[in-house]
Amino acid sequence: MNERKPVEQPRPMDTADLRNRKSSSKPAKLSREVQARLGQQLRAMYDDVVNQGVPDRFAELINRINGDGSKDRR
């Protein structure tokens, strides 16, 4: 939308610098701190949805087919 950031183009200097540092120290390996941080954020984002539980529409859908589900299945 309007406020969306122009994120498509990383500044080439920064990424180049990043790659150089990486290859000169630990090739293709992020530090533990960075990996941990990314992992935390990823799980926080994911778990936020998980913690919403089962929306009614899906609970109803699954329960409908349970038990006397024959009426829906045949």
Binding site: M1, R4, K5, V7, E8, P10, R11, D14, T15, D17, L18, R19, R21, K22, S24, S25, K26, A28, K29, L30, S31, E33, V34, Q35, R37, L38, G39, Q41, L42, R43, A44, M45, Y46, D47, D48, V49, V50, N51, Q52, G53, V54, P55, R57, F58, A59, L61, I62, N63, I65, N66, G67, G69, R73
Partner: protein, 180 residues
Amino acid sequence: MDESVRKAVLGAVPSLRAFAISLCGNVDRADDLVQETLLRALANIESFQPGTNMAAWLFTILRNHFRSEYRKRRREVEDSEGRYAETLKSQPEQYGQVEFREFREALAQLPADQREALILVGASGFSYEEAAHICGCAVGTIKSRVNRARTRLAELLSVFGADDFGPDEQTRAVLARGGG
């Protein structure tokens, strides 16, 4: 349908939904995807092997369905932002709004293969072997996709998020350095 099977399906829904949202970046579309997945799964429930991982089975169906039906449509990051934010009822306290948003934007920029591998292993909690099974590829392929996804995410976040990448100064500095 057996009661234990029904419970297993029900129990897998929250994670299935989180996976769907991270795949298509749009909550409404993700919920449609989950619905279609459940209908397919329930119609073929006899092909589920009791004792095996129900979540992995459902994820495989969802992932394949997404690939065949939804892939052509472009991911709508702009549209997803507002809708996604609406569903996030409990914004985790420890992460700033900006940081959270930037993380999702960065994730959205990853190639689909890398994003799904990272989510399956890093968030859904599947092993590399299970993720490989779900994606129908070799374990080594999953490992390399996850590594590339992490590296790319770190690059993206250090590039456009350095100024307000969360409250943790030390981590920010690490990201800006690129680690190592």
